[in-house]
Amino acid sequence: MHIAEGFLPAGHALGWTLAAAPFVAHGARAVVKEVRENPESTLLLGAAGAFTFVLSAIKLPSVTGSSSHPTGTGPGAILFRPPVMALLGTVVLLFQALLLAHGGLTTLGANAFAFAVVGPWAGYGAYRLTRAAGAGLLPAVFAGVALADLATYLMTSLQLALAFPDAASGLTGALAKFLGVFALTQIPLAIGEGLLGVLLFRVLTVNARPELERLGILQPAAVPATTGGAA
């Protein structure tokens, strides 16, 4: 769920836009460099953006009996790295605002900071740490995707708490309220998105191994050594 147009005071909307801008600009520079060196990357990056948009349209059952949608940035951060996701995530948010009426234009900066910066970086960090600790690909994917989802909503709760401090208990009380509404309810959904990530990568390791090797997710399979001349 993204912050709707007009919900944040103008100063906060501007502040979060300025906070997200360096990350998005860094992502744009990375994309421009990639496209200049490999012009064919334009289509692959466009496909990655479209995949992130479409992934958020897949419904997952939630524990409350209703359904929820994945954020889609966790798998993207693992596959394409957080700087690229900062840009692609912002493009996806712009499309969600103008094609689905999710989010807004003045709140694009705040939503981009949560969805395209904090979520992907937290998820990618969890993925790398889990792999560095010796875990396999799938446990690391679970940690990365679930944390990317949860971190997005933690950040959204903080943004809302900063904008609307509680009348009695200030920022702390407001944070507790917004975390209770937007982040605690997200924990089972984050676990669900983590499981979806595991299933996605399990299928990809079988059906798209060369792509995963090219992206550095999997090590290239060792070529069996040829034996000397036949007897």
Binding site: G6, V35, G46, G49, A97, L99, L100, A101, G173
Partner: protein, 245 residues
């Protein structure tokens, strides 16, 4: 029909042929009024103006506009309710100025969302992307966004087809099966998107288009009467609000 109701409305709108810059100016003015003016009567006037323009001269279907505004309304209702509840030593209660704060918050957000929806339901994304280029966004980024926009519809169609096939095989009959099907569905969509991108690249390379996806955008000239409306309407709303206060 593209499969996304807001996009369909934008292509079918009576304002489709108007300059995207003119429409951006109008909607930016209305959003600015929604954010900066007092909610009463500023937000009410902005909301009414946006809805009247969309359903009137722009001829956006009322059903599409109403359905699209449901999503922001859900967030606005939950967010505003949370914002006006006070948590203190005495437990949970309403903040002293709860009604005013809620009214102001809901008014601004609904009016702002209606103004953005006016832009979204009258301007296809393919008209807005060249405007991004004129605002200084690098060409490579605009091209990636353009490819993303075009592939979204292809992938949504694939998603619908695969999901239908899975449903016919009872793939969505239980929560466990739902997760399994969703994982396979996501993987299939991702590999299809890579395959599409690769085949499109091969096709373009075969035609000698290896450095950019240059297309001839529609010529949508600016209209002086429309620009005048885009300037006068927000100014009029501002004046009325200040007089009413």
């Amino acid at each position: 029909m593209t499969g996304l109701a807001v996009d369909d409305a934008a292509w079918g709108s009576a304002w489709r042929g108007r300059s995207p810059g003119d429409k951006l100016l109008l909607c930016a003015g209305l959003v600015g009024c929604a954010l900066l003016l007092p909610a009463w009567p500023g937000s009410v006037l902005v909301g009414l103006a946006a809805v009247a323009l969309a359903l009137g001269p722009a001829r956006v279907p009322a059903r599409t506009f109403g359905r699209a505004v449901r999503w922001p309304l859900a967030f606005i209702a939950v967010g505003a309710l949370t914002a006006v509840v006070a948590v203190g030593d005495g437990g949970v209660g309403w903040a002293p100025d709860a009604a005013d704060r809620a009214g102001s918050l809901v008014g601004r957000a609904v009016a702002g969302s209606a103004a953005v929806l006016l832009l979204a339901t009258t301007t296809p994304m393919s008209d807005l992307l060249p405007a991004l280029r004129r605002l200084g966004v690098p060409a490579a980024v605009v091209e990636v966004a353009g490819v993303t926009y075009r592939l979204v519809f292809v992938l949504l169609e694939s998603l619908g087809t695969i999901r239908e096939a899975q449903a016919a095989r009872m793939g969505w009959a239980s929560p466990r099966r739902c997760y399994r099907s969703a994982g396979v569905l996501a993987a299939a969509v991702l590999t299809r998107s890579w395959d599409r991108a690769r085949r499109m690249q091969d096709g373009l390379a075969g035609r000698g288009m290896e450095t950019g996806l240059r297309v001839l955008p529609d010529a949508l000239p600016s209209s002086r009467p429309f620009v005048a409306l885009a300037l006068v309407l927000p100014a009029g709303i501002t004046a009325l609000t200040l007089v009413a206060r």
